[in-house]
């Protein structure tokens, strides 16, 4: 657990931090990822978010550019 945390960090951001990130980064510089179900996405998603439902995520990793940061919700 500890080793995993050391070598594969991911950061939890609060809404204000996410807002700041979205405001300060160009859209093509990162991937905004929505991991909910299609119905949830349809009802409301962050502008420009890519939809890959969590159950499908592990099989669809190559759809994302690994060199870019990912902001997931």
């Amino acid at each position: 657990m500890l080793i995993k945390a050391l070598f594969s960090p991911s950061r939890d951001l609060n809404p204000a931090e996410v807002r700041a990130y979205l405001a300060s980064h160009r859209e093509d510089a990162f991937t905004l990822l929505d991991v909910r179900q299609p119905g949830e996405y349809e009802r409301g998603h962050l502008p420009g978010a890519v939809l890959i439902p969590l159950p499908q995520l592990s099989g669809r990793l190559d759809e994302m550019d690994r060199s870019k940061p990912v902001l997931a919700y």
């Binding site: 950061r11 299609p38 420009g48 592990s58 990912v70």
Partner: protein
Amino acid sequence: MRSRAAAELLAGAGFKEVYSLKGGLHAWQGLTAAGPPSQGLGLISGGEGLPEMLAMAYGLELGLRVFYAEAAGRADSAATAEVLTLLAQVEAKHLDRVWALYAASAPAGADRGEVDRQASAQMMEGGQEVERALLDLAPEGLRPAALLELAMALETQALDLYLRLARKAREEGARRALLDLAQDEKTHLQALAEKLEGLGGD
């Protein structure tokens, strides 16, 4: 929490920089865009060049400008009319910018009058939604704050469409222009938010 689980999965799979939204979208208090991932993209193959993409953007922006002009006509106070007129002017400038990009990329002899006509025809359907949105607002809804909020919701939808179009565009010139337009929308939204805040207690 799915956000967290997704972030862990991505980090574990070797993605270098991964963030998650604490609390997921439930915790988000900002604006969101509605519709499925394919919304507005049905007629797009991705292979469209810059002119086609910009023609779509032009239609979208024209719709927004018409909305503001319509709403201004129904304003019940000078303050409201002022806000809406300002928005219509901002939108007109944006429209000019899209047109300039289109004219530079389109085959020679691009006729703005013709594009306006085509965009307006496509907008007839969208125009009914505008009517409905305005009627839904009712007299009390035509306060500046409510109109600014509606404007922000519409601009958020436009931002969403530009970003999804940009991702689908395969031609670099088209992609760049769409990302620039998306950035414009973000700036619009910021200005609208500040205006809304400036209204204070309305």
